[in-house]
């Protein structure tokens, strides 16, 4: 045992003794490992972050099962939006003295009072929140406790209402008592960790490149140890221990970065998600795992790298002639992947097996990239003859040892291919999300839903608001087929004005009925008898489809006109009825109707807020929803753009890591061949030739890697689009950015090796003493 500790100490001592190059290797490896550790720690915290947020949102849960002796609290949600951020507004009134309240509130707010989250309080106090105040005029009497605010920047208000709201409002008997299961699904956790490891692949490649620094010297050192009498197992232990130093330093670095970075957690907004600093706590079991695994993996990698070497007193022996790479299994892998993606082996579409096969196919295709590259570089380099001398020098070098740089580029190319595939998929899907400037722009509108009785007043308010071009009121309801339990048809009641404005119907008179073609369901045949039903809403009991009473009947008249609705009509019905045809009695129980206010295409943010404010006076009685109202993106679109930005950033980052790895390799090459290079220069070979040869050495693998990544990425995307029956549109600007980036980085890396080349070929390197 003491012997092993001794070997460990020797290994550590040897890893720090070697002067500048040794420190460079240590630093680079440690930085790479530190980055990996920090990322893994964040991944390990995701479980807790998600749990805590879940707990906080569940604190709001409303239990509506009656409890004896408890006077319920009536709660109604009336959320709004301010500058495209959601504002969660809850109106509440307690029916008794000890009515329940959520744990995060000190008391239930009284009418005219409200409790807000810290972010909302700050917003309302500041100038920026001026246009929000009309909607929340109540006095702020306190702050909502953190336990009720899921994310740091959330805008939440609990506003006091009066008992007039109680009718038709949810009666809550207790808050936040759902028994939640605490741990993140272990399967998800495993997926998350595996995902992090995959993301960190370029970092691992970088660390392995860094560990190659001064490889020749390490071989000599190990041989010297063997000469002096160390056993072959002992010398392997010592070699492995050398890698431990950077592992521990990297571990410490990663933990430090995590601990410090954590303090800034609240400032980070990732796809709209924010976390509290106190949430960022990694799972202790995983922390222990990381602390144990990182050194273990580094030792195992070091030993694995030594697997085919025999360390003898006279030198380190490796296989003399490089084994010619075989092509068949590489192409075979890719072929299997393509087969899986195109045929799914006949599995039933959208079944689980189908899903697994598709994933396997995609994975195989991606794996094919780093597998194919070394063979490709070797073959391409092997075939090339002639060319200028700088080119020839580079090719000969690559012919001799293509594996190293090909592996570096390969690992990164797979990330690039995946990125290109994802970007292409996203772009093709982009049309659906309706990014401005990308797809046909539907008209912007603000919809206000409220009790039908309020419609005329709301319509008047909206019409008068600045920026509103049109306002129509529509009442949507469902007409049930007489005699059937669940066959219903969407019916919308709107006047001719609205029909003209929304449905584009030119010829309309009060009393007309229109049936819509090509809607999501068939319209009822003329003459069908429909009835309006009010279902019993027994609290706490299971919904009974037969428990209803009919509030009215209506028959689809024979004389109808059939029309087709445009996609942007916002009418979700198969039957359009003018008030005259409804026979005076509004269909349904007449409770909910909507005013649709069309807005100008170039609506400003302020105008939007004022429009919202124009119906602020109705408080909990209205529900306001707006869309396509301006160049700002809604939540979905923001997520999409964020994901795309992240992908771009990720690919640039991986390219940079590849560049640094190649730089390290190039510098190592220069160092190893210092003497030969100096002799070449002394005998008259211009430095420019040597410099260009280094450029080709870097550029050829990168070039091949980008080409393969591009082909694989686009190919993969094409196959996936085929599966989804979507049109393939390639993100040419993005591709150009990536290719340009690769070329630029090759040039940059080569430029950065120039000073080292210069110093290596200074004639003073030829001194033998």
């Amino acid at each position: 045992m003491r012997g092993w500790l001794n070997d460990l100490a020797l290994g550590v001592r040897l890893s720090v003794g070697g002067g500048r190059t040794s420190w460079a290797r240590l630093a680079l490896s440690a930085i790479g490992i530190g980055v990996a550790v920090a990322v893994l720690l964040v991944a390990a915290s995701v479980g807790n972050m998600s749990d805590q947020r879940e707990l906080r949102s569940l604190a709001d849960f409303r239990g509506d099962k009656p409890i004896a002796g408890v006077a319920p609290t009536y709660v109604r949600d009336a959320p709004t939006e301010f500058r495209e951020k959601n504002v969660d507004v809850n109106y509440a009134v307690g029916s008794g003295a000890n009515s329940p309240k959520p744990a995060g509130l000190p008391t239930l707010p009284k009418p005219g009072e409200m409790y807000t989250s810290p972010a909302l309080a700050e917003l309302l106090r500041s100038d920026a929140g001026e246009l929000l105040r009309p909607r929340l005029p109540e006095k702020i009497v306190g702050t909502i406790d953190k336990s009720l605010v899921p994310m740091p920047g959330d805008l939440i208000a609990w506003v006091g209402a009066d008992m007039s709201m109680a009718e038709d409002t949810l009666a809550v008997y207790e808050f936040g008592t759902v028994d939640q299961s605490s741990d993140l699904d272990p399967v998800l956790m495993a997926l998350l960790l595996i995902g992090s490891v995959v993301l960190l692949l370029p970092v691992f490649i970088f660390v392995s490149s860094a560990s190659r620094i001064a490889g020749a010297e390490r071989d000599r050192r190990l041989a010297a140890l063997r000469l002096v009498g160390s056993g072959s197992r002992q010398v392997r232990r010592i070699a492995a221990a050398e890698s431990l130093t950077s592992a521990f330093v990297g571990l410490a670095l990663g933990v430090a970065v995590f601990v410090v970075g954590r303090l800034f957690a609240e400032k980070i907004d990732l796809f709209g998600v924010r976390v509290y600093v106190s949430d960022v706590v990694p799972n202790p079991a995983i922390v222990v795992l990381i602390v144990l695994l990182i050194p273990a993996v580094s030792v195992l990698t070091a030993l694995f790298a030594l697997r085919r070497t025999i360390i003898e007193p006279l030198g380190v022996v490796r296989q003399a002639k490089p084994v010619r790479r075989r092509a068949w299994w590489r192409f075979g892998l890719i072929a299997v992947g393509i087969v899986l993606l195109t045929t799914q082996l006949g599995a039933e579409e959208n079944s689980d097996t189908w899903g697994y096969l598709v994933t396997a196919g995609a994975a195989l295709l991606l794996v094919g990239v780093p597998v194919l590259l070394p063979w490709l570089v070797e073959r391409v380099a092997g075939r090339i003859t002639g060319g200028p001398s700088s080119w020839m020098l580079a090719i000969r070098r690559l012919q001799l040892d293509s594996g190293t740089s090909a592996r570096v580029v390969g690992g990164v190319a797979v990330v690039l291919a995946g990125t290109i595939a994802l970007q292409t998929v996203l772009l093709s899907v982009e049309g659906d999300i309706g990014l401005p400037g990308v797809s046909d722009e539907p008209l912007g509108a603000v919809e206000v839903s409220a009790d039908a009785a309020l419609m005329p007043r709301i319509k008047a308010d909206l019409t008068g608001a600045d920026g509103v071009q049109s306002a129509y009121s529509v009442q949507h309801t469902g007409g049930y087929q007489v005699g059937s339990t669940d066959t219903s048809f969407g019916v919308a009641m709107l006047d001719c004005d609205a029909l003209r404005g929304l449905a584009g119907v030119r010829d309309c008179a009060d009393g007309d009925v229109f049936l819509v073609r090509d809607q999501y369901q068939e319209s009822p045949a003329p003459g069908t008898a429909l009835e309006w039903r009010k279902y019993a809403n027994k609290v706490g009991a299971e919904w009974d489809p037969t428990d209803y009473h009919v509030t009215g009947t209506w028959t689809v008249p024979r004389d109808v006109e059939r029309i087709t609705l445009a996609d942007q009509s916002r009418l979700y019905a198969t039957v359009l009825v003018t008030p005259g045809a409804a026979g005076g009695a509004p269909p349904g129980d007449g409770s909910q109707a909507t005013v649709i206010a069309g807005v100008t295409p170039d609506l400003t943010a302020d105008q939007l807020e004022r429009i919202r404010n124009s119906v602020a006076g109705y408080g909990w009685q209205t529900y306001v929803y707006s869309y396509n109202t301006g160049p700002e993106l809604n939540g979905n679109q923001q997520t999409f753009v964020a994901v795309r930005t992240a992908l771009y950033a990720g690919s640039i980052f991986t390219l940079m890591l590849a560049a640094i790895s190649l730089l390290v390799l190039a510098l190592e090459h220069i160092r190893e061949r210092r003497r030969q290079l100096a002799i070449l220069t002394a005998s008259g070979v211009p430095r420019g030739v040597l410099g260009r040869s280094l450029l080709w050495q870097v550029a050829l693998p990168i070039g091949l890697g980008v080409v393969v990544a591009l082909v694989t990425g686009v190919g993969l995307a094409a196959l996936m689009m085929r599966l989804m029956d979507q049109r393939l549109s390639i993100d040419w600007p993005g591709v150009a950015v990536l290719c340009g980036g690769a070329v630029g980085l090759s040039l940059l890396v080569s430029a950065m090796t120039m000073p080292f080349l210069r110093s290596a070929t200074r004639l003073t390197s030829l001194r033998t003493e």
Binding site: R13, R220, L314
Partner: protein, 225 residues
Amino acid sequence: MSQPLLNATGIVKAFGPTKALDGANMSVHAGEVVAVMGPSGSGKSTMLHCLAGIIAPDAGTVTYDGRDLGAMPDQPRSTLRRTEFGFVFQFGQLVPELTCVENVALPMRLGGMRRREAEAKARDWLGRLEVGDVASKRPGEVSGGQGQRVAVARALVTGPKVIFADEPTGALDSLNGEHVMRMLTDAAKETGAAVILVTHEPRVAAYSDREVIVRDGHTRQVEFA
């Protein structure tokens, strides 16, 4: 005549198509200094490596102290190199990352000795060879002659029975070379170690007690009456 300490018979060793040794024999007695001479490329170094058990010959046996080196597994051979053999090569044998005193202490540390104890012994030997002042320097920072003396110290520190020296003064100038040979042979005589000295220079061979010629893979020894 006492039994030889180290005995090699019928050594055959080929590297690829060329035979470096083809039926070479040699024996070394305790405490004697033997020079192995011959033209360059004649297989002298190969003979040395076979004698030390670093290379396994294709045919023939090498026995040390009655033990067959060829039949020994790697671990005991390594232990032998650490405890009973010492090596002084022309260059490149000191570990550049360690200081001179750490280099000299290395064989003992590999054997499990505590650092302090090993380095004390190392300093002692460095002093005896008059290079005590380079103890904390790295091999790259000292002159050729000093470096070779450090190597000699490392070879002697474990009290070996055989020292294998391959052109130990090859990279040194005459004066430094003389100092190193003088110290090596004196210290060896003092500790009773045998020295196997591979060299092509007669003046270096003049430090030996007898010489063995290696030529075309065979060994010759000349005896006068």
